[in-house]
Each structure stands twice: as structure tokens, then as C-alpha cells.
């Protein structure tokens, strides 16, 4: 971004919030210069600029708390004891562990009598700390992992926090591990003895998870079964489900049906066959992806030349990118990691990879149906897996033959039975049972027994809802945590501003963007869906002028499309722009708040953002300002949305409040950018416009004085009122 004036907008400071406001309080109990305090110098990694080992560990741990803190709320601080320990180095090495520090029942406010709760839930509900215990949750991690000599094929933890950078080969994601272990401590943990399924504590007292753990065959919850019945139930496969209402509601909108691959779709000869989808993104949209197929061709020592897959292992750069471009590449299993094949296919320009098994279907060596591939890459093309027999049929397709990757939409989502989400209940790895979702879920869950170890963006899938079903409060009372201005550091110069209007429950989003070098802006109301905000009816306006040339009757309002905001925590969110009819492409932008804060707060301790919101002059409907108090509680950002010569214009500035006034002395107008993928931040120029002086009048009105240094924008004063008035009583 070129700057013709000084602007402090993107350089505001982070102010730490008081400890009292925290939802989670961490006690790092390591000795000095060890574990979370380890002063060993390390290189910064993507998203984690700390330069000591301990510093990087703390940064990841606190990001995990931000992620959980953005989705949960409670009436008291939850105390977490975290440390590093020697958890051994052998053939099967422990990376970390976690869980509740105690069980408690019949506490004040307990939803059910004689049901044991993990301590964190009891604390969150009752609003008091149980002083007999020095922490609610305990987590420990193996410091020896980072020695590089602990276990074969693993050099250490990956402390990166940039979701675009997956854990490199031979590393394990510390963020995913911390989130997973914390989830157990938060309550996703069967409080039954895995050896005999007796309830921990006093054997007649069930735990809260057992209340909602259901055996479909017996038509009974676990708290109604005998220990022997629970032992049987714990290994009963898809017979074991979780019946919490909110969890299943979320699961129903997230989980995908089994995959199908259709040869020659739409033709009389169309043939549909089973395909296996991996549990990790990118996923094919439910409408499917239809493309021609082409067999990958490249060097490789095997299979023998007589084999039709002779040169299709894709273990090295492919020879036929022109043939593969935009098509689905057929690749044979074998000889190298799937990630390498995926990379080579992507590099060749293919639209997707169809991985063909090299073992007979049903044989011991065949790829398991619920196979989850841990990939140390982050590539935008899907991987689908088919049997050897289906691969043979694909080979017989004509050169122009089409294939559709889609789903069996008439079948229930994977990982569900009778409409309920499956808990893990395997006969093979029984130790993982009950305390996780089933491995068959797609998309994969954070609480899959097998940690994914892939590029992790903080998606908690349906795990928060499971915790709500157990007794945690959701974050609905602190949705103002997302208020403020958001931007993408790689796309500096454009952004979005979110405020909670009315009684802090009406979300209004404006986005300030560019097309062909000129500004434009969008505005719309959103719906809080727990894991995302949907702004389905964003509008765009045009048609009038600035100042005295403004005529509300000239304002033309048109639907633009939708914007989906997917926060991973209160400071980071992906914005998906989906224009309807403007001819503009869809694009996504990973944004961060211009003023970040700890997301680890309780609703009752949030800063007062009641002055934030959207204001306008009722006689000048069609223009107005959006005013946001940033997360530090002192920085304000104003955006004035108006027009010049029939086109949209926006101006932006920052200031600090003094009494009832805010002086925005650095207001700028911008130019030079373009839309979506065409944006080059270097082309954006900031032009100083002047100053805005604002004075609050009552709780719903303000006076705005505009002092412009630019001749095309006259100085002016306005009396503005809220679009969504607050109750001032």
C-alpha cells in the first residue's frame, strides 16, 4: 500500500485485559527455563514470531485458549494447569495428555441430581471455583518430542499458527494437540473405567457424558445400562451414538454422505460406483464436480511396463500437464506418500486427483473405507479414492469421457446412525472409544481418535455443541467480541467492519472494497449461527452525489450477494465473498482484526461497546457512518459511506474518545485497488482527506463535523441517529 499521509489505523496497540475478565486462567507449572519457559532460541515459524521454544509453546497454547474462549462462556474462571513432562520415548510415544482434575455432583446450579460433572463444567455453571482442587483441567506435554531423537520419523512439535502452512513432514501440530487435550478436560471425556466401564468415583453415579451416550440396540442411555452392558456397548460400532440435540443439529449441517463417482454422468450409460472421500478439505460441493479424466503419466520404476498403470504413480513431476490441466487425474496407489502424488497432480494443473487402490477390494491391504490421510500439504484440489476395480473402469473411459465426483445424497451422512452422530466404538482400538467421535465422520472432527496433523485453521466442528449439550454456555452473550475492523495483511487497503447494533444483538457488516481502481462498499445484516455469521443479503448502492449533491431519491439499492464470516477465534476469521449477479468472482480472504485482543474472556467482563454501531441522517437515507470501538477499549474507527458523482465512496479514520467527543484527525480516502484475486495492495494509495470530529448526543444520536482538505468533498456538519436505536432507559 502506498501511503501519502500518516495513518495509524493498522498499527493500533494490543492492550491486555485484566485477569479477572478471563474465562481460562493458565498456571504454567514448569520449572524455570523449562517447558513453557524454555529459553532455547528457535527460529520464528509461520504465524508464531516467538524466538524461544517456550515462547512458541505459550503462543500456541494461548491461541488454543482463544479458540476455545471464543466459543464458550462461563460464570467463573476455569483454571488450567499446564506443564511439560517426560512422557517417555519408545515405539509408541505419548505426545501429550489431558483431562478433568476432578468430578463433582450436586453443586449449586447442577442441571441434574446425582450426575458427576467434570470440574470445568461445574465451575462454569456454578460460578465458583472448587477450592479443594488447585485446577479444573490438567494438561501435560512431552518435552522430549522436541529433542528430535524421541521417536522415529518425528523431529518435534510444529508451533506454526498460520493455517496456510501445514505441519512439515516429521512434525506434529501442537495446536491441534492442545485443542484436543483441552476438549477432553472441558468435558468430552467418558468418566468410565475403560477396563470395565464402571463409573469413576462412586460406581453408581453416572457422569454427564453417559447421560447422552446412547445404545441404539438397547434403546437406552449409558446411565441406564449395567457396566457389562456398557462394555459391550463401547465396542458396538455404529450402534453407539451421542444424542445431544445441539450436537446433532450442527452435525446434520456439516457431515457429508458417502462419496459416489459417476462415469459418463447424464448419459444413458451412466454408472455410479462407490468412492471414498478423505476427511479433510478441500471437499467437493454437494452438487458435485464434473470433469474429464486423464491418466497421470510420469517417470517411475514400477509397476511393470505391461501394467496399464505403469507410469501413473505420480511420485515425481508428471510428463503430461497439458493433458491433465483442468481434469481429474487418475493416479495409482503405491511407491510414495499420497501427499507427494497430490502435490505432483496439483503442479500439473489438474482439478482433482482420483487415487486408485492397488489392492483388491476387501483384501487386507486395501485402503480402508474411512481412511484419513494426514497430509503435510495444503492444496486446493480434492482427493477421491476408488477401488482397483473402479479404477479399471475409469481406464476404459473414452478420451472425452466425463466423471462426476459427488455424494450419495439419498444416504445418511457418514458417521451417523438413525440420525445421531456416532461415538467411536471400535473393536480394534478400544482405548479410544466413547471419548471421541467416530473415525467415519467426514469432515473429520477435532475429536477424532486419530489426530489429523494437517493445516489446521481452528475449526472446532461440532465439538462446542457437544460441550453445550453437557452444560457449557455458548458464546451468544459475547458476540460483540467480533466487533471491529478486519483486514487481511496480504490485502492491506481493503477490509470489513462489524458492529453489533441495537441492544448489541443486530450484527451489521460493511465491507470496503475496490473494482477497477475505484472504491465500493457493501452493507448488510447478519445471522449468528454459532460457528459463523451469514450476511445473506449484502446490498450495494449508487446514483447520487456528495454533500449538497446528495439526493436520497437518487440512491439505487441493489442486491450484491452474500458474505460468510467464519471466525476461528475472536481475532481471526475467513470471509467468503459470494457475489450474485455482478459478474464478479467468488473469493475468500483470511482476515484478522486490526486491534487484536485476548478472546479468553467471559461475557460479563466484556468492554462496553454500546456506542458502536451505524448512524445516519434520516433525511439522507443511503449514506451514513459506521463507528466501531476496537478491542483495546480505547481506539475508535469511523467509516463514512457516501457518494461522489453517482459512485460509492468511503472514508476511514481512527481516533480516541475524550469525554463525549472523538477526534478523528487522520481520515483518508483511498484509490487504486481492484476486486478479489485482482487486488494488488501496492496499487492502493491513501490520500489524506482531513478530520472528523464527533460528539455523542444522548445514547442514540451524535453530531459529526467533517473538515475536508480535498476540494471535491466539502466540509459539513451532520446530526446522525442510530439505524437500530438502543433502549436508553
Amino acid at each position: 500500500m502506498r501511503t501519502t499521509g500518516t495513518i495509524a489505523l493498522f498499527g493500533l496497540l494490543i492492550v491486555p485485559l485484566s485477569l479477572q475478565a478471563q474465562l481460562f486462567e493458565v498456571q504454567y507449572s514448569d520449572p524455570i527455563d523449562f517447558g513453557f519457559d524454555d529459553s532455547t532460541p528457535v527460529d520464528a515459524v509461520p504465524g508464531n514470531p516467538a524466538t524461544t521454544l517456550g515462547g512458541q509453546r505459550v503462543a500456541v497454547f494461548e491461541r488454543a485458549l482463544d479458540i476455545w474462549g471464543s466459543r464458550l462462556d462461563g460464570n467463573a474462571r476455569i483454571r488450567i494447569e499446564a506443564s511439560f513432562d517426560d512422557l517417555g520415548c519408545d515405539e509408541s510415544t505419548t505426545l501429550g495428555l489431558g483431562g478433568t482434575r476432578a468430578l463433582v455432583r450436586n453443586f449449586a446450579g447442577a442441571p441434574f441430581f446425582d450426575i458427576n460433572y467434570p470440574l470445568a463444567i461445574a465451575t462454569a455453571i456454578s460460578g465458583r471455583n472448587f477450592e479443594d482442587f488447585d485446577a479444573d483441567i490438567g494438561v501435560r506435554f512431552n518435552f522430549r518430542i522436541d529433542s528430535g531423537a524421541c521417536t522415529e520419523s518425528l523431529d518435534g512439535f510444529w508451533y506454526g499458527l498460520d493455517a496456510r502452512s501445514p505441519p512439515p513432514f516429521r512434525t506434529a501440530s501442537f495446536l491441534e494437540l492442545v485443542l484436543h487435550e483441552l476438549a477432553h478436560g472441558l468435558g468430552f471425556q467418558s468418566l468410565t473405567d475403560p477396563d470395565n466401564r464402571e463409573f469413576f468415583g462412586e460406581s453408581e453415579t453416572p457422569d454427564v457424558l453417559s447421560r447422552l451416550t446412547f445404545d441404539l440396540q438397547r434403546d437406552a442411555s449409558w446411565n441406564e445400562l449395567t457396566p457389562i452392558e456398557r462394555v459391550q456397548s463401547a465396542t458396538s460400532g455404529d450402534n453407539l451414538v451421542f444424542i445431544g440435540e445441539r450436537t446433532n443439529l450442527r452435525a446434520s449441517e456439516r457431515l457429508l454422505p458417502p462419496g459416489r463417482i459417476t462415469l459418463n454422468p447424464g448419459a444413458p450409460s451412466a454408472q455410479s460406483r462407490v468412492a471414498w472421500i478423505q476427511g479433510y478439505p478441500p471437499f467437493v460441493p454437494t452438487a458435485g464436480l464434473t470433469r474429464p479424466v486423464a491418466i497421470a503419466q510420469g517417470p517411475g520404476p514400477s509397476p511393470p511396463a505391461s501394467d496399464p498403470w505403469h507410469r501413473s504413480l505420480a511420485c515425481e513431476s508428471l510428463d503430461n500437464p497439458a493433458e491433465l490441466a483442468g481434469k481429474l487425474a487418475l493416479v495409482r496407489r503405491g511407491d510414495c506418500f499420497f501427499a507427494e502424488k497430490w502435490q505432483n497432480v496439483f503442479d500439473a494443473g489438474a482439478a482433482g486427483m482420483i487415487l486408485v487402490d492397488n489392492q483388491a477390494e476387501g483384501s487386507d491391504g486395501a485402503i480402508q473405507r474411512d481412511f484419513g490421510i494426514a497430509l503435510d500439504r495444503n492444496l486446493p484440489i480434492p482427493i477421491w479414492i476408488v477401488s482397483d476395480a473402479t479404477g479399471g473402469r475409469l481406464l476404459q473411459l473414452s478420451a472425452d469421457g466425463l466423471v462426476r465426483l459427488g455424494y450419495a445424497l439419498d444416504e445418511p451422512p457418514r458417521g451417523t446412525s438413525e440420525g445421531f452422530i456416532n461415538l467411536q466404538a471400535s473393536t480394534e482400538t478400544t482405548g479410544s472409544n466413547v471419548s471421541h467421535f467416530a473415525t467415519s465422520l467426514a469432515p473429520n472432527s477435532l475429536m477424532n481418535p486419530n489426530l489429523a496433523n494437517f493445516a489446521y485453521a481452528g475449526d472446532l466442528d461440532q465439538v462446542p455443541e457437544l460441550l453445550y449439550d453437557l452444560g457449557w454456555s455458548d458464546a451468544g452473550a459475547k458476540q460483540a467480541q467480533y466487533s471491529g475492523n478486519w483486514f487481511n495483511p496480504q490485502r492491506s487497503g481493503e477490509g470489513c467492519q462489524l458492529t453489533m447494533d441495537g441492544g448489541q444483538d443486530v450484527s451489521v457488516l460493511t465491507c470496503y472494497l475496490y473494482q477497477d481502481g475505484e472504491q465500493f462498499w457493501l452493507i448488510g445484516n447478519g445471522v449468528d449461527l454459532g460457528d459463523r455469521y451469514e450476511f445473506n443479503e449484502m446490498i450495494i448502492t449508487r446514483g447520487t452525489g456528495y454533500g449538497a449533491d446528495f439526493d436520497p431519491d437518487e440512491v439505487i439499492i441493489e442486491p450484491w450477494g452474500e458474505i460468510i464470516m467464519r471466525p476461528s477465534d475472536c481475532n481471526n476469521a475467513r470471509f467468503d465473498f459470494r457475489p450474485d449477479a455482478t459478474g464478479l468472482p467468488e473469493f475468500s480472504s483470511q482476515m484478522t482484526k486490526i486491534v487484536a485482543s485476548s478472546c479468553n474472556q467471559r461475557a460479563s467482563e466484556q468492554i462496553d461497546r454500546s456506542r458502536s454501531g451505524n448512524y445516519f441522517d434520516p433525511n439522507r437515507a443511503g449514506e451514513g457512518i459506521q463507528l466501531a470501538l476496537e478491542a483495546d477499549g480505547v481506539s475508535w474507527v469511523i467509516t463514512f459511506y457516501t457518494y461522489l458523482d453517482g459512485k460509492q465512496v468511503w472514508m476511514i479514520g481512527s481516533g480516541q474518545r475524550s469525554g463525549n467527543t472523538i477526534d478523528f484527525g487522520d481520515v483518508v480516502i483511498t484509490r487504486g485497488g481492484d476486486y478479489g484475486p485482482a487486488l494488488d495492495p501496492e496499487q492502493i494509495e491513501l490520500v489524506p482527506l482531513g478530520a472528523f470530529d464527533l460528539e455523542f448526543i444522548g445514547c442514540n444520536d451524535l453530531d459529526l463535523s467533517i473538515t475536508s482538505d480535498l476540494p471535491q468533498f466539502s466540509s459539513d456538519t451532520r446530526r446522525l441517529t442510530r439505524i437500530n436505536p438502543r433502549d436508553c432507559t
Binding site: S92, T94, S153, L177, E181, Q217, S236, S432
Partner: protein, 178 residues
């Protein structure tokens, strides 16, 4: 509990774990470690027991740092030779510093797993009970046949070598008729 075997030169034969120490006059400073009753205790083992007690509630970083890493890895690889999986009972006398360290570590963990705190009751019917290690979950990494690390979450009792029951060869869940 009784050690399953005992080399001739070692004292642990006949070791008995009990809630209080009666034979050696030794007592842990808190109740967080397993105490041992030994009919005849040689001095090195007494020192070892003291070390166990001293380090019972916390990782012994100082001792760890004093170890030869390769000796420690070798000792870990043969841990089942001198410690019984699942109980951490001594099968033979530790032969070097690394084995002694591992004995301490595994004893500390086994004690934590086996401890069952007394529930704390309040007058209003509230009842709470400490319960970390028996219920804790642990993420374990193993190297699969493809040479890659696979991470799987298990009960934390795997730390002391306990393995969850395996139902693959039988004892399938019956399918009752509703």
C-alpha cells in the same frame, strides 16, 4: 502385590506395596506416592526409595538432565525387562542411572494412576472427588507401515504400559432384540 521375579543379588524380592510404610521406617512426605514395605532393605534401595518419595509428585528434571541420552533410550527400549508393564513393579534391580530414573518415573506414574482420592462432601449434598490420571486421555504417536507418524488418543494409563482390552478375537457385543 508381589514382584514376579527377582535376581539373586537384588532386594526387591518380597516387596510389598502398602498404604503405610511399616518395615523400613521410611515415609513419603505426602500421600502421593506408593510406599513400599521391605523385609530387608539394602542401603542403595533405601536411597532409591527416598528418591522415589522425593520425586513422587513432580518430574525429576535434574536427574533427567544428568543422564546419558543414548543410555536412556536403550533403557527405555528394554524397560519391560526390569519393569512389569501395567504396574511398574520392579522385575530386577536397575543396572544404571537411566534404569533407576525410569523406575522412578514409572513408579510415580503408576502411583498417580492407582491413587483414588476420598470424595469431599459438603453439607448441601455436593460431593467432589479428585480424578485426573485414571480418566485422563493421552495422544500417542506411532510409526505406521507407511513410515509416517500416526497420532491416536488413548487412555493415559498406556503411559505405564497398560493396554485396553482387545475385542478383535472374540467377546463381541451381543445384539439384543428390542
Amino acid at each position: 502385590m508381589r514382584a514376579s521375579s527377582s535376581p539373586a543379588d537384588a532386594s526387591p524380592s518380597g516387596w510389598t506395596c502398602a498404604s503405610t510404610l511399616t518395615g523400613a521406617g521410611l515415609q513419603c512426605p505426602d500421600h502421593s506416592c506408593r510406599t513400599l514395605h521391605m523385609p530387608s532393605i539394602k542401603w542403595p534401595l533405601t536411597a532409591l526409595l527416598l528418591a522415589i518419595c522425593a520425586s513422587s509428585s513432580a518430574f525429576d528434571l535434574e536427574t533427567f538432565r544428568s543422564l546419558d541420552p543414548s543410555q536412556l533410550r536403550e533403557a527405555e527400549a528394554r524397560m519391560s525387562e526390569f519393569l512389569e508393564p501395567g504396574t511398574a513393579r520392579l522385575l530386577r534391580e536397575p543396572r544404571n542411572a537411566s534404569e533407576r530414573y525410569l523406575f522412578q518415573r514409572q513408579q510415580r506414574q503408576a502411583a498417580a494412576f492407582n491413587r483414588r482420592a476420598v470424595p469431599v462432601s459438603q453439607g448441601n449434598g455436593e460431593k467432589a472427588q479428585a480424578m485426573f490420571w485414571p480418566a485422563a486421555r493421552a495422544s500417542r504417536v506411532r510409526i505406521g507401515p507407511d513410515g509416517r507418524a500416526h497420532i491416536q488418543c488413548q487412555p493415559a494409563q498406556v503411559l505405564i504400559g497398560r493396554t485396553p482390552p482387545d475385542f478383535r478375537s472374540g467377546n463381541p457385543a451381543p445384539r439384543p432384540v428390542r
